[in-house]
Point group: D2
Chain length 308, copies 4
Amino acid sequence: MTTTLSNALLSDILQQIRPLIGQGKVADYIPALAQVPPEQLAMAVYTVDGELYQSGMADKRFSIQSISKVLSLTLALTRYEEHEIWQRVGKEPSGLPFNSLIQLEMEKGIPRNPFINAGAIVITDMLQSRLSAPKQRMLEVIRFLTDTPDICYNSVVAKSEMEHLSRNASIAYLMKSFGNFENDVITVLETYFHYCSIEMSCTELVRCFSYLANQGICVGNKNQIITPRQTRQINALMLTCGMYDGAGEFAFRIGIPGKSGVGGGIIAVVPDAFTVAVWSPELDKSGNSLAGCAALELLANKVGRSIF
Amino acid sequence: MTTTLSNALLSDILQQIRPLIGQGKVADYIPALAQVPPEQLAMAVYTVDGELYQSGMADKRFSIQSISKVLSLTLALTRYEEHEIWQRVGKEPSGLPFNSLIQLEMEKGIPRNPFINAGAIVITDMLQSRLSAPKQRMLEVIRFLTDTPDICYNSVVAKSEMEHLSRNASIAYLMKSFGNFENDVITVLETYFHYCSIEMSCTELVRCFSYLANQGICVGNKNQIITPRQTRQINALMLTCGMYDGAGEFAFRIGIPGKSGVGGGIIAVVPDAFTVAVWSPELDKSGNSLAGCAALELLANKVGRSIF
Amino acid sequence: MTTTLSNALLSDILQQIRPLIGQGKVADYIPALAQVPPEQLAMAVYTVDGELYQSGMADKRFSIQSISKVLSLTLALTRYEEHEIWQRVGKEPSGLPFNSLIQLEMEKGIPRNPFINAGAIVITDMLQSRLSAPKQRMLEVIRFLTDTPDICYNSVVAKSEMEHLSRNASIAYLMKSFGNFENDVITVLETYFHYCSIEMSCTELVRCFSYLANQGICVGNKNQIITPRQTRQINALMLTCGMYDGAGEFAFRIGIPGKSGVGGGIIAVVPDAFTVAVWSPELDKSGNSLAGCAALELLANKVGRSIF
Amino acid sequence: MTTTLSNALLSDILQQIRPLIGQGKVADYIPALAQVPPEQLAMAVYTVDGELYQSGMADKRFSIQSISKVLSLTLALTRYEEHEIWQRVGKEPSGLPFNSLIQLEMEKGIPRNPFINAGAIVITDMLQSRLSAPKQRMLEVIRFLTDTPDICYNSVVAKSEMEHLSRNASIAYLMKSFGNFENDVITVLETYFHYCSIEMSCTELVRCFSYLANQGICVGNKNQIITPRQTRQINALMLTCGMYDGAGEFAFRIGIPGKSGVGGGIIAVVPDAFTVAVWSPELDKSGNSLAGCAALELLANKVGRSIF
C-alpha cells in the first residue's frame, strides 16, 4: 500500500470530492428518495483484521436500494443448490439499462444477472418459495452480520415503491409468461421493495459485507456465510454487473468489485483486505453515486488496491 | 364481377380448400381453444343489399378472439373524440409478433395500432373508463348489430385466458409505467379477455360487420354506427394491421381488409359490396386461419374484388 | 365521384396546401437535394381513359429518388420468376425507419419489402445479375412508358449519393454476409444511386405509372407491362409499405396506394381510375412530402376515391 | 499459492482437460482455420520474475485472431491521447454476440469496447491514420516484446478473411455512416485481418503480454510499454469484455482477465504474478476455447490466484 488507511485519509477524500456535489441528480422516481438532502457525505472502511475507519456521516442510515440485491443472492446461495439458481438467472453483463424488457424478451425470460432488477426479482421469487417469512428472515440475516438489532425496513419507502410498481410488475409478468416465476407477482414485489427499502449506514454496510473481503467469513462473528468459491463468484459478478450499465467504466477507473443503489450508496470489496462503503445521494447518468465513485477512485489510487 | 356470388360458389370454395386441413395448427395456449375439432369449415357473405350466402357450418359459433378488437375500436369511436384515441395508440403496422414488448418499450408505451394486443388493451382501458358496464355494453352492441339476442361470452374461455394472463399483464403494466393506462390492470384484462371470448358464427359476423362495407351504416337495421370517414379508416387499419405480422402478405395475395382471430375466424370487407367471414381453426405461422386465407383468396379471385 | 377531375380542381388543391410550405424540411443529406427551392409545387393526374390534368410546375423535373423502387420491382418482375424475387425480399411493412439495420440483422439479411432501401438494393442486385446494362435499360423502360426520350439520370446527384454511400454499403454488405447478395457491392450501389437520381416531372410520372391504374397496361402505348395480378400486388405493397414508416397513417388518412421519394415527389394510384403525382420538396418526419400528402388527402376526399 | 507453478503442474492440467477434446467446435468460417487439427493442446506460464513453464505444444504457432485486439489497443495507447481513444470506443461489455450490428446502430456508431470486432476495427482505423506502415509496425512491436524476429502474418489466413469480409465491412461502413471512421474501409480491414492472422505460440504469447502482469513493463527487455494505470485499465477491460459474450461466466468461474481468439488461443493475466497462455482449437458456444477455459480454471484453482 502506498498510503495507510486512516480516518484522516477518508476525511481527506471526502474533502476532495465535496465540490462534485451539485453535478449529479438525486433519484426522484419516488418522493421518499427525492427528498433526501443531496449534500450528505459518508465513507467507512472495515478491514479483514477488524479495524474500522470512518468519515462524514458514516453512522447516518440511508436507503440501500439495489445494494440489497447482493444480500438476496447471498441468502439464496444458502437455501438453494447453485445449479438451481443459475438455471433461472445468468451471469453476464446486460449491456442495457437496469430495467429494460427488451433483452429479457429476447432471452426468453432468463435475466442476464442477479444484479439487474429482473434478476433480483427472480432471486426474491426463489426466496419467497423457500422461506416462510422472507421479509423477517432478511432482517435477521443483516442484524446477525452487523450485530445491530435495530436495522429495519422503511415502510414509507416500500409503500411508495409499491405505488410505482408498474415497470417491475411488467418485468415479473414477462418472466412468468416464460415460466420463470413461481409465486404471485404482487407478493414477490412487496418483498422485493421491502428489501430495497432497508436502511443502513456506511458503517453498518462495511460490517455487513465483510464476508466478501474475507473468504466468506463474517469478520465480526467469524461465521462462514458462504464458501470461499462463492465469495469469489459474487465479487466477480459485482465487478462485471454491479454498477448498472456503468460496470465497465467502474472496473476501468476503479478496478474493484462494487454494488451501487439509487439511494446513493455503494459497497465495494478489496478481496483479502477490506470492504468500503460510500454515500452521496446524487447519481450519475448510469444511476451510480457520482461523488461516491470519485471517492472510491481516490481511495483505490491512494492505497494502491485495484485488483488489476 | 367475373363470377356471381351464390351459395354454390361458397360451397365450391370450401370444397377446394378442404385438402388444406391438417397443414396448420390449432391454437393451443389455452385448453378451450386446443380442443376445437380442426376439420370444421364455414363461410358466409352478406352484401350491402342484404343478400346472405352461406356454406359449411355457417351457423356454428366459435371464439372470435382478436376479431373483437375491431368492435372495441368501433365502440371507442362512439365514446371518444378521435384525437383522444390516436394519442394513445398509433396507426402503423408493427413489423413484429402480435404480443412483443420490444417495440412497446422503444416507443414509450404507445402501441403501434389498435389491432395488436397492446393496442386493443389500451382501447379496452379507455372503454373501462367511460362505460359503466363495459362487458354488458359490448354484448348489447353486438346483439344490436346482428339482431341476435343470445350472442354471449364463453366464460370458460375467458377464465382460461385469465389463468394465462402473464404476457398481457406484462404488456399492460409496461404501458402503465409509461403513463398510458388508467385503470386497474387485472380489471381491464378481465374485460379484454371477455371480449376475446365472444362466440359468433360466420353468419353473425358478416351481419355484425356489415357497417364496414356500407359507409358505416348497419345493413340490417339501417343505423349509422360510425361515419363514412371512420369506416374507411377502420378498413385501412385492417388492411395494414389486421392480420398480425402477415398483413403485408394478406394484402399482397388477397387485397381486401381483414381481421383474424386465433380461434380460426376471419372477417373481411369489400367496401361498398359485401362482408365475408370464414372459419377454419388451424392457423398458419403468422396466427391467421390457414384455410381461411386460402378461401378468401379464391373468393377475391373469382369475384374479381381486390380493392387494388 | 363527388367532384369531377379538372385542371381547376388541382389548382384549387395546390392553393389550399400552399400555406403548409415552411412546415417541413427539405432532404439535406446530399447538397444536390438540399439546394432545391422549397416553394415549388406541382400536381398531375392521368386517367385510364388518357385524360391528363395538371397544375403548378407539373412539367418541372425533380429527383424521383425512392419512387424508382417501384420501377426496379416492375423491371425485376419482367426478368425473374416471382418466387425468385420473393425468396430474397419480403412483403411485410418494416415498422422501422427506412434504412435501419436492426431488423435486417434479426431477419438474416432478408429485407422486409422491396420499398425500403435494403429491399430495393437487393432488387437492383438481381437486375445487375440479369441485365447487361442495367442503368441504360432502366432509362429505356421509362422512356418507353412515358414516350419521352430525354428522361435521364442526374449524374451530379448520383455522384453525390456515392460520396455518402456508407449507410447503404453497410446494408448491402450485411445482406452479402447472409448470402443474399450476388454482385460487387459498390457496382450495385452505383446502379442503385443512378436509379434514385432519375429526374422526372409530375406529368411524366403519371404517364409512366399509368399501368398500375390500368391492370398492368400502359395507357399511352397499350402494352401489357405486367399482369393484372402483379399490378394488384404492387399496389398492395405500395399501400402497406410505400410511405416509409408513415404507410399506416397514409392509408388511414388518404386510403390509396402511394410511393414517395425524399425529393418530395409522390406517385399514387386509384386502381381502374387514375394515377396522380404531386411534388413539394419539404418532408414530414417520416420522410414523405408534407404538402404532397395533404394534396393527395384533399384529392381523395373531393373525388371520393379512397379504395376503402 | 496452494500449489507451486511448474512444468509438471501444467502437464497435469493438460492431462485433465484432454478428455474435453471433441466437445467443442473448431472455427469454420474460413478454410484455413477449419483445417486445424483439433487435438492439439498447449500451455505456457511466464512469471514477472522471468520464469517460464511450458507443456504440450507450447512452441507450436497458431492464429492468434482476436488476441491481437489487445495489442492494437496497446499500440494505440502509445500513439494517441487517451481521451482521443475513448471518445471513439466505449468501455462497457456488449451483452451481444461479437459481431452484432444492432447495438452499434442504436449507439450511433460508437462500439461498446475495443475487444469486439467493431471496436478493434475503429482502433485499427486510428492506427491506420497515425502509422505510416501499420502492418509492419505491429510486427516490429510484437518482435520487440517477444525478442523473436520471425513472428509474422499468415498471408493465406489474411487473404481468406478478406474473401469473407462482408460482415466486418458492414460494421465498418455503419461506423463510417455515423462519422466514426477516417480511412478507406477496405484498406483498414486489410490491416485488421493481417493483425488477426498473426501466428504465435503459447510461449511467445506469454512473453509478449508480460507487461500486463508487470505494471506495464516488458519482463524480457525491461521497457515500460504503457503506464501502470493503463495496464490496470487493459486488464479491467479484458475481465469485463475479453471473452466475447462469455466474459461474465469467465470472470465468475476463473476470475482473471483474459482475451480469447477463435483460433483457440487465450491469453490471461494474474496481475503482479504471471501471464498464462493456452491453446486448444475447439470453441464453446461463446467462441472461446472450450478446453482452454477449463485449463485456466484448473490453474486458477490450483495456484489460488483468482483476483477475487
